[in-house]
Subunit: 272 residues, 2 copies
């Protein structure tokens, strides 16, 4: 499978900016509780443009990170972002998540964020990553779930625009509603002591930073990003799609509300 071609969000500069915005707004939420001690060797599988990589490396300055991605172009951007942040504890490798050339038990920890949603065989990917863990090592998995998105005012047009993104991702072999499956997937992959924490992003008129940083610049921007692909695929026409985006922006008004949930799972590889 050519995973580069199948990546639903695309590789445009504006999209990369969105991913960096998203990481900034969500860093505290998604990375809370994730810290790797000095000397740990940590694999970030599917680092993309480095949106999480910088946060990981800043929060755990003594750990040694290896960040891999299937896209050489993304990897170059991730490396630039890490350099711009003045970090020296990350090395980069160009590789497919299903064909990683590391020896078994090479890593103390594995971190996977917003990656399984794009894979046709997520449980197999986790099992392959588990093989790279030392006994007792930890795995952290973070995914969103578009089925967790709801808002006020309710809007069929907004739901239809979101459904375009879900369908495009499905056609590319992924699953935009995978967040709720993090627990069973990690258990299926043979991890022990699996524990999942949902992170609900709740945005109302009293939270202007989240209105701008999440409702508008993260979620609505992400859906808007598939406009041309959705129209080209015959999933929507321009007017209907634009109405949906307008209604998503409407939820960012003072009397609007927006909810979305990320799921963060942690588990361990059995010792011995």
């Amino acid at each position: 499978m050519n995973e580069v071609a199948a990546y639903v969000h695309g590789y445009h500069p504006r999209e990369n900016e969105r991913l960096q915005d998203q990481a900034g707004t969500l860093a505290d939420l998604l990375h809370a509780g994730t810290h790797y001690a000095a000397g740990r060797r940590v694999l970030e599988a599917g680092c993309g443009v480095g949106a999480q990589t910088v946060t990981l490396a800043v929060r755990s300055p003594g750990a040694q990170f290896t960040a891999v991605d299937v896209s050489a172009a993304s990897l170059a951007q991730a490396e630039a972002a890490v350099m711009a942040a003045g970090l020296s504890n990350v090395q980069f490798r160009h590789a497919d998540i299903f064909a990683l050339l590391f020896a078994p038990q090479s890593f103390d920890d594995v971190f996977v964020c917003f990656v399984l949603e794009h894979l046709a065989r997520p449980a197999e990917a986790l099992a392959a990553l588990r093989a790279l863990l030392k006994p007792g090592g930890t795995m952290t998995v973070i995914e969103g779930d578009h089925g967790s998105a709801y808002f006020h005012p309710e809007s069929p047009a907004a739901r239809a625009a979101i459904a375009c993104q879900v369908e495009l991702q499905r056609r590319a072999g992924g699953d935009a509603m995978i967040g709720r499956m993090v627990y069973p997937l990690m258990v299926q992959a043979g991890l022990q002591d699996v524990s999942v924490s949902p992170c609900l992003v709740y945005v109302d008129g009293s939270r202007p930073a989240l209105i701008e940083g999440f409702t508008r610049r993260t979620f609505t921007a992400m859906v808007a990003g598939v406009r041309d692909a959705a129209i080209a695929a015959g999933l929507s026409d321009a007017d209907a799609f634009d109405l949906g985006i307008r209604d998503l922006h409407r939820t960012a008004a003072a009397d609007g509300v927006f909810c979305y949930t990320f799921f963060k799972g942690t588990g361990k590889k059995r010792r011995g």
Copy 2:
């Protein structure tokens, strides 16, 4: 409006047992942060069978509660529950929430839980309750939102069964998806410093108490409770409805996941 006849959940003994189960499982979640100091006069508007009343009175033993409900039969059960718990800090009054016979500014605090969802004019109800608050008094509002329910495995039949409950509640003048609107409703009712906390109930195979207490005995039991009404209203046939209930129980398996969110809002009446 005859609100007794319109109450979607009905008044059967099994339903009352479900409401008590629900309150037990959810008490810590819903009542966290809610405590009334000794001497406060607190109105619980719409106490029903007393599912929240007992928790309120136990957690704030020095406060004086007045619990009102439109149903005399429910009120009698609430009174029995409070007596059975050995509590003496609650008095009961039979009244419609839109025609409360208290003087303005009679209470230090108002508590409203799972009530607005059944009212055709929720903002007006909050405004009427606000009038009963002393300046500086607090209002606490708790509501669920059936649009926040999602699960694994996904099931169109389960969604259809849930939609029956939502539609019956709508026909009765209510809104089963009102949770997300707690913030704008409280602001619209003229409350100040409104702050809403979502309480996400996340249930997976590692949480057996919630599987039993929430997925099965609270949510699925609630949807199952409208079976006859949904069939009588022509919203479903028996086989389709029962398939939906079966699929909701399926989400309670070891590899299943269930999510639901309650919204808890607090606000104040402006001083002077």
